[in-house]
Symmetry: C2
Subunit: 168 residues, 2 copies
DNA sequence: ACCAAATAGTACACAAATGAACTATTTGGT
DNA sequence: ACCAAATAGTTCATTTGTGTACTATTTGGT
């Protein structure tokens, strides 16, 4: 019995009490929230042994997957889907631990470029097996076709969510 | 051009550098995170006029959709998918504002039962139109079949995520 | 009946996230 | 050329979220 049943029952009853409350999107949004929380919590458990948390990991992975010599903090903010102030906070931590390098962008003096240090690269490659295993477990929920379908549907939902936020 | 493209490019490159890093589930997990964040941010904007934030809303909705006279804090924790300490924190706020009632459970002296006050019910019904509109906008991304498919797939992913966490 | 283990909810210290303000720099319009 | 508006990144105060410890109560095994 999933804990989500409790959530679902509440949503169904809300829809009955207030018929304009749209059951389906409410469910989707709650499911997304619950999954995100679980992933976050589990990732935190896995990453603890490396002295990291999920947010650190997200930022590090975006740096690892960067093909230029460095990326701006704004690029990192977008890729990691974190607020600017939080990116700065996490970057400070990573920098203090020697995993991140910072240098001025010669093309725009407002900008700071950030990249992984060799120690940072080594750290990432240290935790990548564990995190890959975890991700594979999530992926095991679906076959290839379902995975592709889900990616398409989620991308669409994200597109709409981004649009809604822009229009506010 | 979605900001998610930046994320996707980093994931693709990471997969090239480290082929065991599973591109598909990494994408799914990142999409879920991004959507959750957008929903959270937008909900906060919408709810601000009522003096509420997204977490408050989530808790209130679980209370509104409760058919018994009250629910235990543990039930609320499960339904709202929040940590116990956070539920207590939010309940304190709602209680202080007169939106929530608290009383002892006659059947188990460890338990506290919580429910909406009439003012709390009125508050919920005040913001329900706005939040319903927002949810309908998210739902507009899909037709009925896609919605049903997405709900099924996300429920499965949540089931796996819950299982993984239990096994740790 | 007794007692260890489990449970319920809260307090509290701390971590993580965020909004707003800020300074420096760049851009775009006149 | 000038300047207002926009941008980049950081700081900082505050809010939000969480892990752990705690007390009281209940459960389950002997």
């Amino acid at each position: 019995m999933s804990r989500f049943d409790a959530t679902e029952n509440r949503i169904n009853l809300t829809h009955q009490r207030f018929p304009d409350y749209p059951r389906e999107p409410a469910m989707l949004v709650r499911l997304v929230k619950a999954i995100s929380q679980h992933v976050h919590d589990t990732a935190n458990l896995v990453l603890r042994q490396y002295g990291l948390n999920h947010t650190d990991y997200n930022v590090l992975m975006m740096l690892y997957g960067c093909q230029q010599e460095g990326m701006t903090v704004t690029q990192l903010r977008d890729a990691a889907a974190e607020k600017s102030a939080n990116v700065t906070r996490v970057c400070n931590i990573l920098y203090d631990r020697g995993w991140m390098a910072r240098f001025a962008d010669p093309q725009d003096r407002r900008r700071v470029l950030v990249s992984l240090t060799p120690e940072g690269e080594a750290l990432v490659e240290q935790f990548l097996p564990s995190m890959s295993s975890l991700l594979n477990e999530y992926g095991s929920a679906f076959d290839a076709q379902e995975t592709a379908m889900l990616e398409i549907l989620l991308k669409r939902l994200l597109g709409v969510a981004e649009q809604i936020e822009r229009n506010l």
